[in-house]
Symmetry: C2
Subunit: 506 residues, 2 copies
């Protein structure tokens, strides 16, 4: 027998697993925490100043191809790169970082993530994830209870990369519930509101549905789907020889946080015998709050539901979930692979979750969710949701009281839409748009705030700014200061003549 030559372990190649793993991790983790602290201090605000070119320049030497993949390793890489990561981040834990559905994760969830990464289970077969398979099934069962499914024990689900993947899967399951011929004929349609997330249209295109398969249903001015209009649209589609395969309702639009009237939409879908998917990626978190949960009345009547616990659940990315009312709805995803889930192993009780997911190798994202749900309980998570909702209410009042700011709508969940009104811009929509876009970039370039931006409708005058308040630790004084920053950046972004005019006036 030729035994291979003795192995000289290259530096930096210690493993994270087994009984020796924690010992190897200990000094590295200490390095990471120290470098994160230094990096955050170096950044000194919500994001690094200078804009994209300056950030790229600061990282250039560290990330040059010869530095990133050298022939011989560099034992200082971890420390240098972690410090740079923190120094060049837009950190949602900073109260002035409030643009997107991008949460500051809970420390307890991040610590759980460390365990997941060290143990590294893969959910595509039982023998890569004995315990983690049970954990995912349990998390899904608990969430099936939370959404109020009538028979949570009959439900099923899977962790996903986020709402985009959950929506794609829901559409896939809806498509494949129809005979292949219906799909091939290009007759299938999907009905969602105008304000539904772009991933619905993207998902339909990915799945090869017809170009006009997604039928947008007009929304009321509050951003909610009108169930009567949905009713007509479904009838119209049928009359035109189309085959509606899915209604998609949104529980929490990205901008307004609007929640479609789920019970009424469910009734319409049921009457037309069309499957109902609810995209509750944002709004699903309201279920933790006794105060806000009623917004989602009717959710339990959905056939499939998408939730994102990396939004109102404060998980590090990713913690998406797709729930289905009946496990049998996963049938189109069934997959038999001789090397993963042979039939006699399944018969012997070796459950594989391969047939629940679009993926093969799959990280146990359910673990951090399990830790978080149990650490905080529904009451703890509900308190965080309520706090962010309170902050949104406070910010809206502050904005409404500022003459140079215009509040777009009362907040529903935790977003606040508004815009800056330039001295002479109120009438000229395009100029107001330009000033709002410029003031936002000015804040980014200063490194002083990350404020969101979106469009309400289209055409001149549609640009809006957005605060997405997801940091329960933010104080009202910090919100006041953020609004002052917006006002100052707005004044600085007005065209020079307006500035001069103001000077003359003063």
């Amino acid at each position: 027998m030729t035994a291979p030559k003795p192995f000289d372990r290259p530096p930096g190649s210690a493993l994270a697993g087994g009984t020796a793993g924690p010992g190897a991790l200990q000094p590295l983790v200490a390095e990471v925490l120290a470098a994160l602290r230094r990096g955050a201090a170096r950044r000194g605000g919500p994001l690094p100043p200078g804009g994209p070119a300056a950030v790229a320049e600061r990282l250039r030497a560290l990330l040059a191809p010869s530095a990133l993949l050298p022939e011989q390793g560099d034992p200082g890489a971890l420390e240098a790169l972690v410090e740079a990561l923190a120094a060049t981040a837009a950190d949602p834990a900073d109260p002035a970082c409030a643009a997107h559905l991008h949460v500051p994760p809970l420390a307890v969830a991040v610590a759980a993530e460390l365990a997941t990464a060290a143990v590294n289970p893969s959910l595509d077969s039982w023998d890569q994830a004995p315990g983690s398979t049970s954990v995912e099934l349990a998390v899904v069962r608990a969430l099936a209870g939370l959404v109020g499914f009538a028979r949570p024990e009959a439900a099923a689900g899977v962790l996903t990369g986020g709402g985009t993947e959950s929506n794609l899967m829901a559409l896939l399951l809806a498509r494949d519930a129809f005979p292949r011929e219906q799909f091939a004929s290009g007759r299938l349609t999907v009905h969602c509101s105008q304000a539904a997330h772009f991933s619905i249209a993207r998902g339909a295109a990915l799945l090869g549905l017809d170009r006009d398969a997604v039928v947008p249903v007009q929304t009321a001015p509050d951003g909610r789907m009108d169930p009567r209009v949905l009713d007509w649209a479904l009838a119209d589609a049928r009359a035109a020889g189309r085959v509606p395969c899915c209604v998609v309702a949104t529980a929490g639009t990205t901008d307004l946080g609007a929640v479609d009237p789920l019970a009424a939409v469910a009734a319409v879908a049921r009457r037309h015998r069309v499957r109902l998917h609810v995209d509750a990626a944002y709004g699903g978190g309201a279920l933790f709050s006794r105060r806000l949960a009623p917004l989602l009345d009717g959710l339990s009547e959905a056939d499939t539901i998408g939730l994102d616990l990396h939004k109102l659940g404060w998980q590090p990315i990713a913690a998406g979930v797709l729930l289905v009312r009946e496990a049998v709805m996963f049938a189109p995803l069934e997959q038999r692979a001789a090397y993963l889930n042979p039939e006699d192993d399944e018969d012997a009780g070796y459950t594989s979750l391969l047939g629940r997911s679009l993926r093969t190798t799959r990280r146990a994202d359910a673990f951090k969710v399990a830790v978080t749900l149990r650490t905080l309980g529904r009451a703890g998570l509900g308190a965080l949701v309520d706090r962010c909702h309170d902050l949104a209410g406070y910010a809206a009042e502050r904005i409404a009281a500022e003459p140079r700011l215009e509040l777009t709508a009362e907040p529903v969940l935790t977003t606040v839409l508004f815009r800056y009104l330039p001295q002479r811009g109120a009438a000229a929509g395009a100029e107001t748009d330009r000033v709002n876009a410029a003031l936002r970039r000015r804040l980014l370039e200063q490194g002083s705030a990350v404020v969101g931006r979106t469009e309400l409708g289209s055409g001149p005058g549609s640009v809006r700014l957005k605060l997405t308040l997801l940091n329960p630790g933010t104080s009202t004084a910090e919100l006041d200061r953020l609004i002052e920053l917006v006002l100052a950046a707005g004044a600085d972004s007005e065209p020079p003549d307006a500035d001069e005019q103001r000077e003359t006036n003063s």
Copy 2:
């Protein structure tokens, strides 16, 4: 102004980010490391004994719905769940856990993952990931150099969830390079070897390609695609009025580790003017090794390439990569969202990676890859690859020398296929299959080893066992012991009469 009532932070709700985050993480991380150590010790082997029912039973109380999502939180959740996770894991850091392309991750990569989770960048817009956007671009550039693209600066890529997602994206980009009508007519075809990963067929179905769109090309007995057969298949498809949109070559099949003859396949694809995607999810890691890299000659001629650094790259899941030869090939994924990448922001240099991915919210998996590449360098990673290749060679020799074991083929990368030959089973294929399947489950139930299982071809006699050797720390003595375990479990799984017969003989 109604300020919201003062906020009583619920227990367990400290955040991981900002300058305060590392302080909040410190005690939690210490808890995690201690619990991982206790859990691994409690497990005491590669996986928990008793099989699925026993594992589920051990977790039942911890994971009951009322325990998982209680009304009030439980501050002991992290410790209890992490210990349980480790105690019920199949740990690839144990030398007897050698079934799947499921690696023991490097401690340095796991530590980097902690930083990613704490900082929580999301790659769908620059203002959620200023530095991380640069990191992903740099990792992609370095890997484009590693695969040998002629113009790495013109290439592009994206981190994915793994080979399955990379393959899906490659097929999507190939499909959408054709006019919609070609797709709608059901004429597009995809050509890959019989031994290609099942995710090719799955991806084609997801994309709505025709039922017979994936044309399997017969492989030689060594599991490699025959380029002449591919040539004929492409000509046949055209003659039948079909439109080949993609050839998929495999660099490292899951079972045999077979690498298609890439240069010859590329020449055929080029001659037929069909796009070439190479699924190098497993074999791509050979590029780090001077000894094995020549197996992948011709890879640089691919149009798109999938790599999985959570295989021969020792990353925690997920670290998939899709590379494209020319950035313009991503055009079908372009996506404009007013709230993420408005045109004037992009013009001002705020690069968003939204149009590179199927996802919206997206974790910065590139960060741990960057840390690992730089910490180990090509030489360090190459040494790990070579070591696993050496171990496979040693295991193959050991198996070939055992009368009760039959080696299926010489290892190419790091997998070894073989089977146990029961005393009287050699002729009766079905019985040999049963014994091999049973011996594998017996090892799982004992908690003594996780050995892979697959099928070579179909029908009686096709079942094979598999060692996937991905732990560079495994010693030859540990491999010897693993083989002894297989032999003992084989003997115990033979039908009783055979046992009796042997006793009589001895």
